[in-house]
């Protein structure tokens, strides 16, 4: 028994500091206007506030960077600085993707982790684009947004690179036969700045597993309840 502990004692430091092959993707952000944004600015009572916020977000966009760390079938996605105006980026908090599931830690709600299956389906088109020397193929996905019995179909465009055959991408989007180097959703465009391979310690994802887990649907349901309770009080 003592021998067992001695062996563990000797091996543990090596295991805990072991470096493994890691792909690191750095993405930049471009914020663009779209039809929905124009509609809100021109028609909504909050138009002026949203316009101001949009201008500030555009002014800050060059400072925003995201890092996607890939280790085997695990990825971790996060922003470089949460203090930056990220209102139009679609960034909601750090994201961990495992083989079948996506874990999101919303940075405004500290005690929960939103867990969803990887279920976005993509339609691969024949359009191509060269990004930093890599030939990329365009794919289209659709985000279904249901709110108060209305359903909206918001398009998502991804340019993936079959020469980097790992099924990963920014902000939790993945599932294509290659890494997504550019992704457009709503007002935000994630674009690859650089991509490198290096050795890093194994990802420690304990902050995703210690919190209360909740599905996206349940999270929205709770939020709706909270809103109606607040309005009724």
């Amino acid at each position: 028994m003592n021998r067992f502990f001695i062996i563990i004692f000797i091996i543990l430091p090596y295991v805990s500091t072991a470096q493994i092959n890691t792909y690191v993707f750095t993405y930049g952000m471009q914020i663009i206007s779209d039809e929905r944004h124009e509609s809100i600015v021109n028609k909504s009572e909050y138009g002026a506030i949203i316009h101001d916020l949009f201008v500030k977000a555009q002014n800050n966009q060059d400072k925003i960077k995201f890092e996607l760390i890939v280790q085997d079938s695990i990825t971790h996605f996060c922003i470089n600085d949460l203090r930056l105006n990220n209102s139009f980026t679609g960034y909601f908090g750090e994201i961990l993707t495992l083989k079948d599931s996506i874990y999101k830690n919303p940075y405004k709600v500290k005690n929960i982790t939103i867990v969803n299956p990887k279920n976005l389906t993509w339609e691969i088109t024949s359009d191509t684009l060269r990004i930093g020397g890599y030939l990329c193929i365009k794919a289209k996905g659709t985000e279904l947004v249901t709110y108060q019995n209305k359903t909206f179909y918001n398009p998502i465009y991804a340019w993936f690179c079959p020469d980097i055959p790992i099924s990963v991408g920014p902000n939790g989007f993945c599932g294509l036969p290659g890494a997504i180097l550019k992704l457009q959703k709503g007002n935000s465009i994630f674009g690859l700045i650089n991509f490198r391979k290096e050795s890093r310690p194994m990802l420690v994802a304990s902050n995703f597993f210690q919190k209360k887990k909740i599905t996206q649907e349940l999270y929205h349901q709770k939020l709706e309840e909270q809103i109606s309770n607040f309005e009724n009080d």
Binding site: I40, S44, N85, G90, V145, Q148, N154
Partner: protein, 95 residues
């Protein structure tokens, strides 16, 4: 013994000093006897509640225009901060 004496003098001295700087600043409103500090706290609380309600209204407005939760939530926060007349929490702060 010397140490004890020194400590006692120091404690009494600092105690008197801090007591000397205590300012009694509880202003009482003569009309209804409510403290002004309590009044301002109530105003702040009301403002906070109104702005929270405004945030929820904005969120509902944005969602009904097809924005996802993430998109609507971040914009609704901007409405909240505008209502509270505070710069957005996500403004870049100088290093």
């Amino acid at each position: 013994m010397k140490k004890l004496l020194f400590t006692a003098i120091a404690v009494v001295g600092f105690g008197l000093n801090s007591w000397g700087h205590t300012i009694e600043k509880e202003e009482i409103d003569s009309s209804n006897g409510t403290s002004n500090s309590i009044k301002s706290e109530i105003v702040e609380l009301e403002e906070g509640l109104n702005c929270r309600l405004e945030r929820f209204k904005a969120y509902t407005n944005f969602r009904s225009q097809g924005l996802s939760h993430e998109e609507a939530d971040s914009r609704a926060y901007a409405v909240f901060f505008a209502c509270m007349s505070v710069n957005s929490e996500f403004e870049l702060t100088p290093p």
